[in-house]
């Protein structure tokens, strides 16, 4: 048998005697992340959450939420009546039964019609600038509610099937946790016994701290923070919230067996687990060609099933009054139908849908003109939607962040609350 490796310069017999007596507890193993649990009861609970349904690519809202039958821009679809005081597209029949829960803001008017810029603007309330990275919705809401949820071990900002936008100057601790809608988190299973992992962590922690102490910049500390969060999550019971497959078959089918349906169902489970912000992505809205066929046969059936299921389920479980739901993309599409039966990028007049968390449902806020090319009432922006959602979640609009350079910035970029939603 090979001799045990004896440290250089050390008397072998001496070393072995220590070896025999030293227990595995010699290493001050890190404890799993339950440190915040102790003062759980002292804090006021805010159980409110928000779900953003993000329509990547820019959905044509005048074919879904603000139809213009008869106008030369109106396209092929007909409006139908709903359970609210609004009409929507005939290809959204299930959602029509849920419209008492949702409000359509029909007077959105923004100015970013490039995917990257529009995605940033609608997620942050700020236009992209060169010398500043603004925090996105999820990061802001997670940041504002996290302290009130000491029991939460799942990351407070989860994005399903997409990338969302980053935490900006709030730092990597508030970055979105990106998962697939199948509920399987890659590499979650630790490949060794817990005590051994903790001992490895102790050694790792020493290297980490050494590097951080050398004053080399933020990235070193961010890395350390993420390790701690990862460790907490690996051992958390709460991770079962991601397992949509554990839902009864009929519930899964009600949401839809596609990835967006699973994502919406996962969002409900995460709300129940106390996650304050969940984004679910549905892509494929960038319809420069063949838009009516693609909408009626591909996107709208998927959207209609999952979105209506989400509202219905949240309402039935009594969660809707504490959960804000938003539906939006980076912009919408031109009223003019182009030569390829498609619509191009358009930001000047379009719709966003919100509901839940005490916001009025069944209404349309604002109006566009007869062919949808202009907003005829007070125009609303990304900031205004964000301010309204923050209000619905009980987050003060007086909240001010300080960027790393010391610049103060008001939450939601000083957007104004859309009053019809709360009247």
């Amino acid at each position: 048998m090979k001799n045990f490796a004896t440290p250089h310069g050390m008397n072998r017999r001496h070393f072995m005697s220590h070896l025999a007596g030293a227990s595995a507890m010699a290493i001050p193993a890190l404890t799993m992340g339950h440190t915040l649990q102790t003062h759980a009861q002292e804090l006021k609970r805010n159980r409110k959450s928000a779900i953003m349904l993000w329509m990547s690519g820019g959905p044509s809202t005048m074919d879904i939420w603000d139809l213009k039958p008869g106008a030369n821009t109106g396209g092929e679809f007909k409006p139908i009546s709903t359970s609210g005081d609004v009409q929507i597209s005939e290809h959204m029949p299930m959602m029509a039964k849920q419209m008492h829960n949702a409000a359509i803001i029909r007077s959105m008017s923004t100015s970013e019609a490039d995917h990257g810029r529009g995605r940033y603007y609608m997620h942050t309330g700020y236009k992209p600038v060169l010398n500043m990275e603004h925090p996105s919705y999820g990061a802001v809401i997670a940041h504002e509610t996290f302290d009130q949820r000491p029991e939460l071990e799942v990351p407070p900002f989860v994005t399903v099937g997409g990338g969302s936008e980053g935490p900006g100057f709030l730092g990597m601790a508030w970055a979105p946790f990106a998962v697939n809608s199948n509920g399987q988190i890659r590499n979650l299973q630790m490949g060794m016994e817990e005590h051994r992992l903790m001992q490895r962590m102790a050694a790792l922690d020493l290297v980490e701290k050494g590097f951080v102490s050398q004053n080399r910049g933020q990235a070193a500390e961010d890395h350390q923070n993420i390790l701690k969060k990862t460790l907490a999550l690996m051992t958390s019971e709460q991770m079962k919230a991601f397992r949509v497959a554990e839902e009864p078959q009929e519930v899964q089918e009600r949401y839809g067996m596609d990835s967006f349906g699973k994502g919406c169902l996962m969002a409900r489970r995460l709300v129940e687990a106390g996650v304050p912000f969940i984004e679910v992505d549905l892509g494929g809205w960038d319809m420069h060609t063949d838009i009516f066929n693609t909408l009626s046969n591909q996107r709208l059936p998927v959207l209609d099933r999952a979105m209506s299921a989400l509202f219905e389920d949240l309402e039935q479980r009594g969660l809707l009054e504490d959960t804000a739901v938003m539906w939006m993309g980076e912009f919408s599409r031109t009223p003019r139908i182009n030569g390829n039966t498609g619509r191009d990028h358009w930001a000047r007049s379009w719709s966003v849908v919100v509901g839940g968390a005490g916001m009025n449902g069944g209404i349309a806020v604002g109006k566009t003109n007869e062919d949808g090319t202009r907003v005829d009432t007070e125009p609303y922006t990304s900031q205004d939607v964000m301010a309204s959602v923050c209000k619905s979640l009980g987050i003060s609009l007086e909240t001010t962040f300080t960027s790393k350079s010391g610049r103060p910035m008001k939450i939601a970029n000083s957007g104004k609350v859309i009053k019809e939603l709360f009247a």
Binding site: G21, H115, N187
Partner: protein
């Protein structure tokens, strides 16, 4: 009881280590320009900014840190222990210049140099997801093969740009008429009148962001809608023809061709295109380059090949020179002279305009040999500085929204590809795996877990290998790290455990391999504790044989090294 014994052990270890050599910092000295005028100019221009902002640069990085950095940035992986020691033991005054020269021009490194820059440029040209979509007209392997051949031969940059802009032929290796360069444009010319080809060509090779002007005049820069469509007109003879697998509707590949363009007015000898103003009026446009140079209006390819003309005009533009200088600077420093690097122009002034212009000119004067540009950048004073921030330069923090002044090295995380290659080298796994193509395929497969595609017409995407939880989970529990820490016979760790190195040398070896430094006293102490824990069976109270315990402890240590911030962050 156990605790008391252990603290005795610790004390012994500490005593024993008190005499071990510590890492020696290079003494600070004035900027060395290695007798290269371009290096002297970079040093001079940066010093001007430091003086103007009353900033003092940090000290030089340690030799090992610099060595690790230069391997990572030039050939895409960290140095092996042998390579590191070869450099640190070298006493020559020109050893830095020699190492850079070796990495750039020694045949031994040609393949790795080409692989690294192929990775970088593939991401620039077709993104991380390009060619992985079902029925894509892009062939990722074709793109990579084209780039790899070019970088292995050190093809002048202007030739590469010309070939990418003007390429015709089939997109997949092995096909008749194969020309991998077509993969840059293959997915970008058919849809939406080639607007994606327009936007990407202007952005990638000229540093001009024009995509917003497709619909309206740009809110920030001088570009107008007219200019966008005039640039777009260069691409309108071009089509990507689909090639199907015989008997199916599955796309096998594509062929990029130039065809006569009749124009939207139906007069091929005067082939105009139309675009719509916001007020609904239609306007006509012909191919006109960004500097107002006009070319013939004919749509007949044999009279005017529009892309050939575009290739010539781009090569004449000084924007091309500055754009590549900016891109390469940003590769080595983490920040370019503008942010983003591919948005240059009066609306977005550069942080060091004179230097940017100078580097662009020098690239042109040196026949677009990018290896020379790399040499100048990596031998500059700024590139040699430590990432440790001092009171005298802590204001220089681009994360605060400040323009970078380069008074210290900015931390940046390895790319996923760099991690992969580094582990192959650090654990010498590459020596036993299959062919180049097979290796590349398994790498691509591993990389795909991090890609998030947005599904938009501009090919928007992001990566989850960005320092967040999915990355940490992969490092903790993923296959790659499991393999790197494997204990089976013949593995990296097995070889170390069974070498004639003493235990402390083994630990030292692991720290050198991962972090290019020796362990500190505290780190050594905790590694001995891991030996103890493994020998006593951890918390299980069962005793295991000492060879196995020793092996297990090495696994623990190597795992901790690989998971550390110091390992993954280029510093």
């Amino acid at each position: 009881m156990a605790e008391r014994l252990c603290s005795q052990l610790l004390a012994l270890v500490a005593l024993m280590l008190a005499t071990s050599p510590l890492t020696v910092l290079s003494a600070p000295r004035g900027p060395n320009d290695f007798g290269i005028p371009q290096v002297a100019k970079i040093n001079e221009e940066l010093r001007k900014t430091w003086d103007a902002y009353e900033l003092k640069p940090s000290q030089a990085a340690t030799e090992s840190e610099w060595c690790r950095r230069v391997y990572l940035d030039i050939i895409g992986r960290i140095p092996s222990v042998d390579e590191l020691q070869e450099f640190t033991k070298n006493r020559s005054a020109t050893k830095k210049a020699d190492l850079v020269g070796k990495l750039l021009y020694d045949d031994k490194y040609t393949e790795e140099y080409a692989r690294n820059w192929t990775t970088v440029w593939t991401t620039v040209l077709i993104g991380r997801a390009g060619g992985t979509e079902r029925n894509s007209l892009t062939n990722r392997e074709g793109m990579q093969k084209y780039l790899r051949d070019g970088f292995a031969r050190n093809k002048p940059y202007n030739e590469m740009v010309d070939e990418l802009v003007t390429a015709t032929g089939s997109n997949r290796p092995g096909a008749e008429n194969f020309n991998g360069a077509v993969n840059f444009l293959a997915m970008k010319v058919n849809d939406e009148k080639g607007t994606q080809a327009t936007a990407d060509t202007a952005k990638i090779f000229l540093g001009l962001q024009v995509q917003c002007t497709q619909c309206h005049n740009h809110p920030f820069n001088d570009w107008e809608q007219q200019k966008f469509w005039e640039f777009n007109a260069f691409f309108r003879q071009t089509r990507a023809l689909r090639q199907f697998t015989p008997g199916t509707r599955d796309i096998l590949g594509s062929e990029l061709v130039d065809q006569d363009f009749a124009g939207e007015g139906g007069t091929p000898s005067d082939a105009e295109i139309y675009y719509e103003l916001r007020n609904g009026l239609l306007k006509a446009a012909y191919p006109v380059f960004v500097d107002e140079t006009e070319i013939g209006k004919s749509g007949f390819v044999n009279e005017v090949n529009r892309r050939d003309k575009l290739g010539e005009l781009i090569q004449q533009s000084e924007y091309m020179d500055m754009c590549v200088a900016n891109r390469y600077w940003s590769h080595f420093f983490g920040y370019g002279f503008t942010k983003p690097i591919d948005d240059m122009g009066p609306h977005n002034p550069a942080s060091h305009p004179e230097l940017l212009e100078y580097l662009g000119q020098q690239v042109r004067e040196h026949s677009y040999n990018l290896k020379e540009l790399i040499r100048w950048i990596t031998l500059s004073e700024a590139y040699s500085l430590t990432s440790r921030v001092t009171k005298a330069n802590e204001k220089d923090d681009p994360l605060l929204g400040e323009t970078p002044k380069f008074t210290h090295f900015y931390l940046r995380q390895m790319q996923a590809e760099e991690l992969y290659e580094s582990l192959l080298v650090a654990t010498r796994a590459a020596e036993t795996s299959g062919s180049y193509e097979a290796q590349e395929r398994s790498k691509s497969q591993w990389l795909s877990q991090f890609v998030l595609a947005f599904g938009t017409d501009d090919g928007g995407e992001s990566t989850t290998f960005n320092g967040t939880i999915p990355q940490a989970l992969m490092m903790f529990n993923g296959e790659l790290i499991k393999n790197a820490t494997d204990a089976k016979k013949g593995s990296f760790l097995w070889n170390i455990a069974n070498s004639n190195m003493k235990p402390q040398q083994q630990i030292d070896y692991l720290f050198q391999a991962g972090l290019a430094r020796q362990p500190t006293k505290d780190e050594l102490a905790i590694t001995y504790q891991l030996f103890v824990a493994r020998a006593t069976g951890g918390g299980n109270k069962k005793t295991i044989d000492t060879a196995a315990a020793s092996m297990a402890a090495l696994q623990d240590i190597w795992w901790a090294v690989l998971n550390s911030n110091e390992f993954i962050i280029n510093h």
